[in-house]
């Protein structure tokens, strides 16, 4: 009952915000040059959706996001587990890692364009630099926080190093890594979009920058909306994946007193 009421309230809020906005624009209270009418934004989105050329842009941004995400995550998990296990290496590399992580990623975009050109890979590289550190720090933390008693138990039971990795370290780090996967999806999108925005010939970031060049605010807002939906879809896919992977986490109310 509560759930239905909550949904109704959410719907009412939505109507209120966009209705008010639309009304403000028609009544001349809001300048559509800065805040285009919601209906105009919707029109632009619909125009894109029925235009086959639009999906080329979506698929390019999607490819950059997925590639940046997968590569960055793989490198982050690998490096994080490695440095989590080897404290000495972690100590030695610590200042280098901190320095690299301190660089604002946006300034790397021109360098990646120089190295990799205006195509897909310069955007992937930017996304990787953003995703890597999130996953890396989480994986390292996850490995370090392994319960020492559980670790001792596995060793006494006869686990060798690779068995320890597979049966203790990775599963223990998995919930940390998974929580970082959620955060880093956003970063992957940001990397791809900024890369496109700063120099490209295709992708959602390119669409937004084109609209901006034409002082087409409705286009910019439409681009932002499409991006938000894009991230929401990826996020809900991760939800499913997470529930599949971590079956062992106690569900609420299932824990014995």
């Amino acid at each position: 009952m509560h759930a239905i009421n909550d949904r109704l309230i959410q719907l009412a809020l939505l109507v209120l915000i966009f209705g008010g906005w639309q009304f403000g624009v028609t009544a001349g209270l809001i300048d559509p040059f800065f805040f285009p009418a919601p209906l105009d934004i919707l029109k632009q989105i619909v125009a894109w959706i029925i235009n086959p050329g639009f999906y080329k842009h979506v698929s390019i941004t999607l490819s950059e996001t997925v590639l940046g995400y997968v590569i960055g995550t793989a490198l982050g998990v690998g490096a994080g587990v490695w440095l989590g296990l080897s404290r000495r290496t972690a100590r030695i590399l610590d200042p280098f890692i901190k320095t690299l992580n301190a660089i604002p990623r946006v300034v790397l975009a021109p360098i990646f364009v120089l190295w990799l050109g205006l195509g897909l890979w310069s955007k992937v590289a930017l996304a990787v630099t953003l995703v890597f550190f999130v996953t890396f720090f989480n994986a390292m933390q996850g490995v370090r926080e392994v319960n020492p008693v559980v670790l001792s138990n596995a060793r006494v039971l006869g686990a060798n190093r690779s068995a320890l990795l597979r049966h203790v370290y990775f599963p223990a780090a998995a919930s940390w890594i998974l929580s970082s996967l959620r955060t880093s999806v956003g970063f992957a999108v940001v990397g791809a979009i900024i890369g496109e925005y700063l120099g490209s010939s295709a992708g959602l970031g390119y669409l937004i920058s084109q609209a901006e060049g034409n002082f087409d605010a409705a286009g910019v807002f439409a681009g932002i909306t499409v991006l938000a939906i894009f991230v929401l879809i990826i996020d809900s896919i991760l939800d499913v994946v997470e529930n599949r992977l971590i079956t062992w986490r106690p569900k609420e109310g299932e824990r014995p007193a």
């Binding site: 138990n153 060793r155 006494v156 006869g158 068995a163 049966h167 062992w248 106690p250």
Partner: protein
């Protein structure tokens, strides 16, 4: 069937341990953490089939000694041997029942019990069958699909027991295994442990801070001095007949006499330890 599974004797065949044969030899062992010497020059032998219990004040180094036998810690001096083989690391033929929850939380009860066999390369079907048997043995048939968080404290301890014993290790180490359980569950589990042990009669080293438990379960009780630089100060044979019932045996006059004698020895160390750590 795998090599290991074949070398494990079936339960029905009575094992006849030779108490004269030392199964665990702790020779002149000193354990240190940096400059802190926890135990010094400990000498202790456990015969085949002997149930040894170790008591001593909190923090005197009981767990440290056990970890040395398990190969988890290296002695600063001296050697530990199991069945004549020097211990140099983990993976030896021992079972270890930890004081804390030590199950892998991301594995079900069944997967946890299987681990020892899996790490020794026993095939999936074979180890599954044995693990199911062991879960039934500790009274947890039907719980094989549960994760540790879905089990009570007593049930988790039972799973740990099955996990530690499934490989039928030559030596069983236990570190205050039942200290976190309520008194009734503790009595039940102590009796179950005795019944399981009676089947196979492996060498056992059990640490406890509960002197009643030490006498009720052990063939011999060893008293450690207050730390640091703890050592063995006394050893008492427990000449009570087996099989025993841990709740009933506490009313036996011989039990009470042993309790008085050992407590006379332990009491001074507990008081020393208390005064030092106040």
């Amino acid at each position: 069937m795998s090599v290991l599974a074949r070398s494990v004797p079936p339960v029905s065949v009575e094992r006849r341990p030779d108490p004269a044969k030392p199964m665990v030899e702790i020779a002149d062992v000193t354990m240190a953490f940096g400059d802190f010497v926890a135990v010094e020059n400990v000498n202790l032998n456990v015969g085949d089939g002997e149930f040894l219990t170790v008591v001593g004040p909190t923090g005197c180094g009981k767990s440290t000694i056990l970890n040395a036998v398990a190969g988890l810690l290296k002695p600063a001096k001296g050697t530990v041997s199991i069945d004549g083989q020097r211990v140099t690391g983990t993976g030896g033929d021992i079972g270890y029942l930890f004081q804390q929850d030590a199950l892998l939380p991301w594995k079900t009860a069944l997967e946890n019990v299987e681990l020892g066999l899996m790490f020794r390369g026993v095939g999936a079907a074979e180890r599954r069958a044995q693990a199911m048997d062991w879960l039934a043995k500790v009274g947890l048939a039907g719980f094989e699909g549960r994760y540790p968080q879905q089990l009570s404290g007593g049930q988790r301890k039972r799973v740990q027991m099955a996990q530690a014993l499934i490989t039928r290790p030559k030596v069983i180490l236990m570190d205050e295994p039942f200290s976190a359980l309520d008194i009734h569950t503790r009595h039940l589990m102590q009796n179950e442990l005795l019944a399981l042990w009676q089947e196979d009669r492996r060498a056992v080293v059990m640490i406890t801070h509960d002197l009643e438990e030490a006498i009720a379960l052990g063939d011999r009780v060893v008293v450690l001095a207050a730390g640091p630089r703890s050592r063995v100060i006394d050893s008492f044979e427990v000449d009570l007949s087996r099989p025993r019932d841990v709740a009933e045996i506490k009313l036996d006059t011989r039990f009470m006499e042993l309790y008085r004698n050992i407590w006379a020895s332990l009491r001074g160390e507990v008081e020393k330890s208390y005064a030092r750590n106040k």
